[in-house]
């Protein structure tokens, strides 16, 4: 094939498709979130524009474009304009790296062997946009939101990064395709890495500033946090960045812990080989499976938002530094020891991965203990009912 075609035109086409798909998904997410929140909160949600309110997906961007683009008089102009754009860029690039379907067709770039590292490097730059925006707005609420987000996102970057070390120890690869392949040949990483998966989900919620970790915006405390002074399309860019990162993180969770595009384990089931035999139809089905799993994660984001109250800042930091990071470190330690001490063994004709089974059991115990610890009442119920003496 013409090298121009291979290295420029074809990736550009793929990138355009991914870009448009992400845009559409973000716009749709807005509607989905509002409808779902309506469902959770026993109300209707937007249902006026078009059938089931679907027109809202188009109406919202139009509204954002037509609103007054307001810039505070004493804002730091360059940083103020840069703020909303910065979180958007990495999320678009990251989309090119994620394998949506079985190879060779369904990733924008072909298999970078440090894919995971690159993704983490890129997504962690998103915080700059928020800090810049918060600082440049010349508003105390914005500044506090920006400072909070700086501390929060840097803190949660650590457990997020540590939680995937266990996965890497199992799969022995930073290549996302390789990680998915490993999972369909052995087991989804969520089982032997249950604790890591738990940490990853908590940390990715915090990374995205979603409830219960939405302290940088905390609408009841900081008005709107770092984007208090942003209006119209600049505000929409922040939302776009946030939702894109939500989708990226969901994709990562699916890829790292839930078997990516495949629906099989231990080499059995709807695996890459089966899909590749079916040609492009198999590829499409694989992508469909991936997107479905990703949507489940997006649903989980919204579910969390409808369920939990918000943390306080110091409690959030405590959770990150005093609980998640030690837990992630312990996870790495235990995974390493178990994998060394109990390698896979041959029982008759079958290979049984003793280490991974042990890890699964340990993970379940740890999660159960954590939940008990979390919900143990600290103080007895103190309500009394009594009569006032009738004097």
């Amino acid at each position: 094939m013409n090298p121009w075609m291979t290295y420029l035109i074809w990736p550009l086409i793929k990138f355009s498709i991914a870009f448009i798909a992400v845009q559409a998904l973000v716009a749709a997410m807005n509607w989905i979130e509002r409808r779902l929140l309506g469902f959770f909160q026993a109300r209707l949600g937007p249902n006026r524009v078009g059938p089931w309110g679907l027109g809202q997906i188009i109406a919202d961007p139009i509204k954002f474009l037509l609103k007054e683009d307001f810039v505070p008089a004493r804002a730091e102009k360059v940083a103020y304009y840069l703020g909303p754009i910065l979180p958007l860029l990495p999320s678009f690039i990251v989309f090119c790296l994620i394998p949506f379907g079985p190879p060779p067709t369904f990733a924008v770039t072909n298999n970078i062997n440090v894919g995971l590292l690159l993704i983490f490097a890129l997504t962690s730059t998103a915080v700059y946009g928020i800090i810049l925006g918060g600082w440049a707005s010349n508003n105390k609420f914005s500044l506090m939101g920006g400072l909070r987000s700086a501390a929060q996102m840097v803190s949660y970057e650590v457990p997020l990064g540590l939680s995937i070390v266990g996965v890497l120890m199992l799969t022995q690869s930073l290549e996302l395709e390789e990680i998915v392949r490993y999972q369909e040949m052995n087991s989804w990483n969520v089982f032997p890495q249950l604790v890591a998966c738990f940490i990853f989900i908590v940390a990715m919620n915090a990374e995205n500033n979603r409830t219960p970790f939405d302290l940088p915006e905390a609408e009841s405390e900081l008005v709107a946090g770092f984007h208090t002074e942003y209006s119209a399309m600049k505000f929409a860019f922040y939302m776009l960045g946030e939702y894109s990162l939500m989708i990226v993180n969901s994709c990562l969770a699916v890829t790292l812990f839930f078997g990516g595009w495949s629906l099989g384990m231990g080499g059995i089931g709807f695996t890459t080989e089966v899909m590749q035999k079916m040609g492009w139809v198999g590829g499409l089905i694989g992508t469909g499976i991936f997107v479905t799993k990703m949507m489940l994660f997006l649903f989980m984001y919204i579910w969390f938002r409808a369920t939990f109250p918000r943390f306080r800042f110091d409690q959030l930091m405590d959770l990150g530094w005093k609980f998640l990071i030690p837990l992630a470190l312990a996870n790495i330690f235990v995974t390493g020891i178990v994998l060394l001490a109990f390698p896979s063994r041959l029982y008759g004709d079958t290979v049984i991965a003793v280490g991974e089974i042990m890890l699964t059991v340990i993970g379940m115990i740890v999660i159960a203990l954590t939940l008990v610890l979390l919900f143990k009442p600290k103080r007895p119920k103190v309500i009394n009912a009594s009569r006032v003496s009738e004097a």
Binding site: A218, S220, E221, A306, F313, N384
Partner: protein
């Protein structure tokens, strides 16, 4: 600052009724005997004023501070809860102002009234050192009457604008004046740093942040300026009055019946309870009692609106904490409650359903069955929301120990209602001095220890359950038959058929519309348990169709006064969580 328009109101110049005796409460002998007892044993000189509805005393202005201190610290009487401090203006008198103190003793369950008479140029020593609650109350009296309080730490206007001219509640103040006031020359709010956090030198700069008046968590129009070190609050100062609508002054230019819609708008989350409080105060002055059927409906609607009030408080507080779902979820039963009021009166949030002497119209035929339906559906919602939040670790961490106030401080700040009960004082007006027949129902006063936000949640959840208990009993008893308004042509309008067919009734109708209800000359105070504390009305009647003075005791007022004290040393999220749990209703706070 300039006067925009100036036109004068047309006063009523018709004849004053002459056939009226002064108001004398029914059990005046016992009250006066108790008053004499207190005067004899208090250990300070008290000049008794007899014939009033509470043991009342006239105190010289020099003696007021020692008197208050003696009454507070008296081992037997223990008047530890400052209820109210307000002024009344009698321009004809030599010492034209009455500064009235009302105190309550939790131990003995009794109230007293102290009056200090001052002239226009005189000042009263401040009693802030005795009761911290009186800080704002004294500022209000200064704002409204121009009475100065010597030694007050911060004697500024509180409800009106800083540049406002004159004192609005003085009788010689023309209420038809219009002012255009600007912010020029108004000093910026500078929170006083708490002594605990005063440092001589710090490497960190402190930031003053205005929470409100337009801030998502400052329900309505509250404002609190806080000084922050990091996110820790080291100084706080609340400013109120953004929703001041001169309720008390307006009442003086309207007839007794016309005041009812204004009372709706005090605590607009539980409007019916305010109606009950106001109507029963006027009824007390008139010496009439609403018929049994009306009383039964009043009680049921009061309890329904108490539940609605708690629902709004819990829902919005949880929104402040980031738990959005409960708000909308709880609004379903609230919607049903409001629809019930709508079926009675035609209006929803502010039904204005009560009239002096009874109700505006009879309840619809399906009132009881609808009530039963709501009572059946309520526990499910309350239980589900309680299960969702009260055991949630995040919620517990956010609320336990946050915004705590001790029992002693709560009393000294004049707390009443759920906030006081959450601090461990089981004082509820419905138990302490029952009205509407609350004493005949089987229910309990919930209270909790700790006085923190979590305790306030506990108390409110349990109170809703107790209200449901009362409602279930009320439904089981059924509505008593009979009229819904007293059969007294001087109080209630005759029925329309009679007006069209009988000369007498037509005349009564005309007289009541034109000349209004004219209670006997005198003063009366009556209190009900509102959604967030004791709602009391103090009415002075001069025998004419307009009240001479209407004073409302807003429970939010002293509670919001303590807010700065409660959030000191905590963080902004704590301050927001605390504010929501106090249930400050700006309509009531600012009169």
């Amino acid at each position: 600052m300039s006067t925009l328009t100036r036109f004068s109101a047309i006063p009523y110049t018709g004849p004053a009724p002459t056939n009226r005796n002064p108001y004398v409460p029914a059990d005046v002998a016992t009250i006066d005997a108790r008053g004499a007892e207190i005067a004899a044993r208090a250990g300070v000189a008290l000049e008794q004023e007899t014939g009033l509805d509470l043991p009342a005393f006239i105190v010289a202005k020099e003696a007021i501070v020692p008197t208050l201190r003696a009454l507070r610290d008296h081992t037997e009487f223990q008047f530890d809860l400052p209820l109210d401090l307000f002024g009344v203006d009698y321009p004809g008198r030599e010492q034209r102002f009455d500064v009235v103190y009302q105190l309550y003793s939790v131990k003995n369950n009794e109230r007293i009234r102290l009056k200090v008479r001052v002239g226009e140029t005189e000042s009263v020593p401040t009693s802030v050192d005795v009761y911290r609650a009186f800080d704002w109350f004294e500022r209000e009296v200064f704002d409204m009457y121009g009475v100065r309080f010597e030694g007050h730490p911060n004697l500024r206007r509180i409800l009106t604008h800083e540049m406002f001219q004159g004192h609005a509640l003085r009788k010689d103040y023309d209420p038809a004046q219009r002012w255009l006031l600007s912010e020029q020359g108004v000093a910026k709010l500078k929170p006083k740093i708490d002594p605990r956090f005063e440092v001589e030198h710090s490497d960190f700069e402190r930031v003053t942040l205005n929470l409100g008046p337009s801030h998502p968590a400052m329900h309505g129009t509250l404002r609190c300026a806080v000084t922050l070190e990091g996110e820790t609050i080291v100084g706080a100062d609340q400013e109120i009055g953004y929703l001041h609508r001169c309720f008390e002054k307006m009442s003086e230019t309207h007839t007794y019946q016309q005041v009812i819609p204004f009372t709706d708008r005090l605590n607009y989350c539980s409007a019916v309870i305010n109606n009950v409080g106001y109507c029963m105060t006027v009824e007390k002055l008139l010496g009439v009692a609403a018929p049994e059927r009306a009383q039964h409906v009043r009680l049921m609607l009061s309890e329904f609106y108490r539940i609605a009030d708690h629902i709004v408080c819990i829902g919005t507080n949880l929104v402040d904490l980031g738990a959005l779902t409960n708000f909308w979820y709880l609004f379903q039963p609230r919607e049903e409650i409001i629809a019930l009021a709508e079926s009675c009166s035609g209006a929803r949030l502010l039904p204005t359903y009560l009239r002096i002497g009874g109700l505006a119209v009879d309840v619809p035929a399906d009132f009881l069955s609808n009530s039963q339906r709501i009572v059946n559906m309520l526990p499910k919602y309350i239980d589900e929301v309680e299960a969702l939040v009260m055991k949630n670790r995040i919620f517990r961490d956010r609320t336990e120990g946050v915004g705590a106030i001790t029992k002693e401080d709560a009393l000294n700040f004049g707390f009443t209602g759920p906030c006081l009960r959450a601090a461990g004082v089981p004082f509820d007006v419905r138990k302490a001095s029952p009205y509407l027949g609350y004493e005949t129902y089987d229910w309990d006063v919930p209270y909790a220890e700790g006085g923190d936000t979590y305790a306030r949640f506990l108390v409110r959840f349990e109170e809703m359950r107790q209200s449901i208990r009362i409602l279930q009993q009320a439904i089981d008893r059924g509505l008593p038959s009979g009229p819904v308004i007293v059969d007294n042509p001087y109080v209630a309008l005759p029925p329309k058929e009679k007006v069209y067919n009988e000369m007498e009734s037509l005349i009564y109708h005309f007289k009541l519309i034109m000349h209004g209800i004219q209670p006997p000359v005198g003063e009366a105070y009556f209190q009900v348990e509102g959604g967030n504390g004791e709602v009391g009305f103090y009415i002075v009647s001069d025998g004419t169709k307009n009240p001479y003075r209407v004073r409302v005791r807003p429970p939010c007022f002293p509670i919001f006064e303590a807010y700065g004290h409660m959030i000191m040393g905590q963080t902004i999220p704590d301050a927001i969580a605390t504010l929501g749990s106090l249930n400050i209703i700006a309509g009531e706070l600012d009169h």
